[in-house]
């Protein structure tokens, strides 16, 4: 089953306006920058990007361009703003969030991880202790007031839990160190982060890989994401970026 697509623009050519795309990466590590650049080139609009921990702070140039081009409708993340308030005021994404032009929805990071895991594993929702006692328990945390839907809670064996829902994006972009033609993937160190769980969650997963190998070259014991989760594979160079979120 050869899933290799010869060019990155071809790999995303069917993505329509209004799509929801999972973007892995933990700040600078493991972000699918080449696929993000491809959606910028294609000019796809009304995008919802579902993240995990600040990949768009890591890919700051790509975020700036997406905001400037008016391509973003909504971003979901656990950590998506500059730490420094004064820097945030200068940031075009934060300005758009303040103006209500882009919706920004926030969950605890472990809840984001579990939302994807649940989606990939056929679980529609789950009770978690995380966020109890905070605004996260009361309702969806978003800058758009009308969308702050209340959340259900339940006491189980004396402890309170919040009901959170699975998150199933239309597409996931993942970045792997090595991939074979059949979509088996292996990540590098902490660049793994959200990549695997997002690959399992999305309806269509597109993997950009730094090294493309033949089936059998990756030892079956060393595969992090089995090929069943991956629809398309595209070869990219090793990205060069600054390891910073400042």
């Amino acid at each position: 089953m050869d899933k290799v697509i010869p060019g990155i623009d071809e790999a995303i050519k069917d993505i329509p306006d209004g799509a929801t795309i999972a973007v892995p990466g933990f700040f600078a590590a493991g972000v699918p920058r080449f696929l993000l650049q491809a959606i910028i080139r294609k000019g796809i609009k009304d995008l919802t990007l579902t993240c995990g921990c600040g990949p768009l702070l890591g890919a700051a140039d790509e975020l700036k361009t997406l905001v400037k081009n008016g391509q973003l409708k909504k971003v979901i993340d656990s950590y998506g703003l500059f730490r420094s308030a004064s820097k945030g005021m200068q940031d075009s994404f934060e300005q758009a969030v303040r103006a209500g032009e882009i919706e920004f929805e926030v969950y605890p990071m472990g809840t984001m991880a579990e939302k994807y895991r649940a989606a990939g594993a056929g679980i529609p929702a789950f009770f978690t202790p995380t966020g109890v006692g905070s605004v996260v328990e009361e309702g969806v945390v978003t800058n758009i007031e009308d969308n702050r839907r209340p959340k259900e809670t339940r006491i189980i064996e004396g402890r309170k839990y919040v009901l959170e829902y699975a998150l199933k994006p239309d597409y996931a972009f993942v970045h792997a160190l090595v991939g074979d033609r059949e979509g088996n993937l292996r990540y590098a160190k902490t660049a793994r982060n959200f990549n695997h769980v997002m690959a399992t969650a999305a309806r269509t997963t597109i993997a950009e890989v730094e090294k493309l190998v033949e089936p059998g070259e990756l030892d079956g014991d060393d595969i992090h994401t089995p090929g069943v989760y991956v629809r398309r594979v595209v070869k990219v160079p090793r990205p060069k970026f600054a390891i910073t979120i400042d």
Partner: protein
Amino acid sequence: MSPKIKFRGLSRELIALRVASELEDGTYANLGIGIPTLVSDWIEGRDIVLQSEIGMLKTGPLATGEDIDQDLINASCQPVTELPGSCYFDIAESFGMIRGGHIDVAVMGALQINDRGDYAGWSNPARGLFVGNIGGSMDLCAGARKLFIAMEHTTRDGEYKVVKELSYPATALSKVNMLFTDLAVIEITPKGMVLKEVAPGISAEDVQSVTEPELIVSPDLKEIEL
């Protein structure tokens, strides 16, 4: 109301050192951003394993020069190194580990804390945003067996950070066990805040003057040993 007094206590590095000495050998710990990150500078050679929620156990010291690997960072986006026995895992596993009660101690920074062990750290209302950076803080509060807060005792302007009631959005309620500041070590008990240690040159009265809730002074009150 604010005390507007500033005492000269421990540096951020020495607050971190005092936290490090509270961690027992055999501890699996997770360090948050800020002063907590500095704790890692004081545990070299100790039998303490750092979990980084990005998906790493046994996180090594910060990497410099040629050791920097863009695929190897900690949860504060700093390049780090491996140690013998370091391992990597995906994010759902990482937070399963955290929520599932397998991390002994989480050390976090805070903007406010009260005498019931509630604390606020993820959002400063002065920023004027309802949304903010929650990151992994709430998961660590929900799952770590013990929660330590490491912070400056007052704000830069001398306002209370140790307060009667949180005015900032809470990260978690009734979860904090110990508070380490530049001026004091305080244990949070069902009866309230017990002042256990004071920084050199600082008295219990000094600490109380910059602390809004009433402190219970431990009969064994002593100077912080470093």
